[in-house]
């Protein structure tokens, strides 16, 4: 039952990532303030791009590209935070 809870939770996260194309494309709070108060042009471009702006590169369909970016990011973060927490508590478990 408990392992099932984690699996269901991860599936819910992936489902959330899959509705990401429905998200509002309006500027966010900080972008809006920067535009209105005239300092948005100070923003610099990133020196390199991987999955810039949550659009998976090389996928023509934009909704699909956004979903792919969301799914990849969700899985990467699940793995990264789970892995980090597991590693950090390794010593504690060995002592126990």
């Amino acid at each position: 039952m408990k392992s099932k809870w984690w699996l269901i939770s991860l599936l819910v996260c992936l489902a959330v990532a899959c509705i990401s194309p429905l998200a509002s494309s309006s500027p966010d709070g900080l972008e809006r303030v920067a535009e209105d108060r005239g300092f948005i042009e100070l923003a610099g471009e990133a020196p390199y791009q991987v999955i810039a702006d949550y659009v998976f590169p090389g996928v023509a369909n934009e909704a699909l590209a956004t979903i792919l970016a969301g799914v990849v990011g969700t899985l990467v973060l699940f793995g990264a935070a789970y892995g980090l927490a597991w590693l950090l508590t390794l010593r504690k478990r060995q002592l126990a």
């Binding site: 992936l14 998200a23 949550y54 969301g70 990467v76 980090l84 597991w86 950090l88």
Partner: protein, 212 residues
């Protein structure tokens, strides 16, 4: 509220980076010592959820959108230090992989949305549940208040960093940032409360674990 490169000056970049490195160092030490076995998978789930939820910009007034930060939710479920670590994972991945938030501004983003939002959210939640008692209702109300305050405070720190960097005068940027994020904070509050309600209904035991 991800600050891109170019908005902050060198002094602000250096100061926020130093504080965030220190904060992450402290979080690594404390989480390593205190995190329970049951909480390890929850770290992964929360990081995954916060990343996915942050992609869902919802409209607020006047052609502006907002998305959740998620730090208050993480801090309520796991504690502020664990939340700092989760937020650092999310913000580092967003910066390095998704080009959301500048490389040089990463320290400021971790400070605002990680450290400030996690600790403020956690202590507001603790305050409300201390006053109102450990009930379902106080958990939900405390969650809403924690989420709202965490967004507002993060935006205030963001505004101060922008002002100190000379991007915009404080008298202009502070009310503008606080105003729009007071609205975005309502969205954060509703989503945080909804998730807490879901956790209470399915795994209420998670809310009884020691917070880190």
């Amino acid at each position: 509220m991800h600050i891109p490169d170019g908005f902050l000056n060198v002094a602000t970049v250096a100061t926020t980076a130093a504080v965030s490195v220190g904060g992450i160092g402290g979080a690594v030490r404390i989480v390593g010592k205190k995190l329970g076995e049951k909480q390890v998978p929850l770290m992964g789930i929360l990081a995954a959820f916060i990343f996915a939820a942050q992609m869902l910009n919802f409209p607020v007034a006047g052609g502006t959108s907002g998305h959740v930060i998620g730090a208050a939710l993480a801090a309520i479920l796991l504690g502020p230090w664990a939340a700092v670590l989760i937020m650092a994972c999310v913000l580092i991945a967003q910066c390095l992989i998704f080009q959301d938030g500048g490389l040089l501004a990463l320290g400021a983003n971790i400070f605002n949305m990680g450290i400030v939002a996690s600790f403020s959210g956690y202590y507001i939640y603790r305050l409300v549940t201390w006053i109102a008692g450990n009930t379902r209702k106080s958990t939900l109300v405390g969650g809403f208040a924690a989420a709202w305050v965490s967004v507002l405070l993060a935006s205030i720190f963001c505004a101060v960093e922008l002002a100190v960097s000379g991007s915009s005068p404080l008298g202009v940027v502070l009310p503008a940032m606080a105003g729009v994020h007071a609205l975005i904070g309502i969205g954060e509050g509703l989503i945080t409360t909804a998730v807490l309600g879901l956790v209470l209904a399915t795994r209420a035991d998670l809310l009884q674990l020691q917070r880190i």
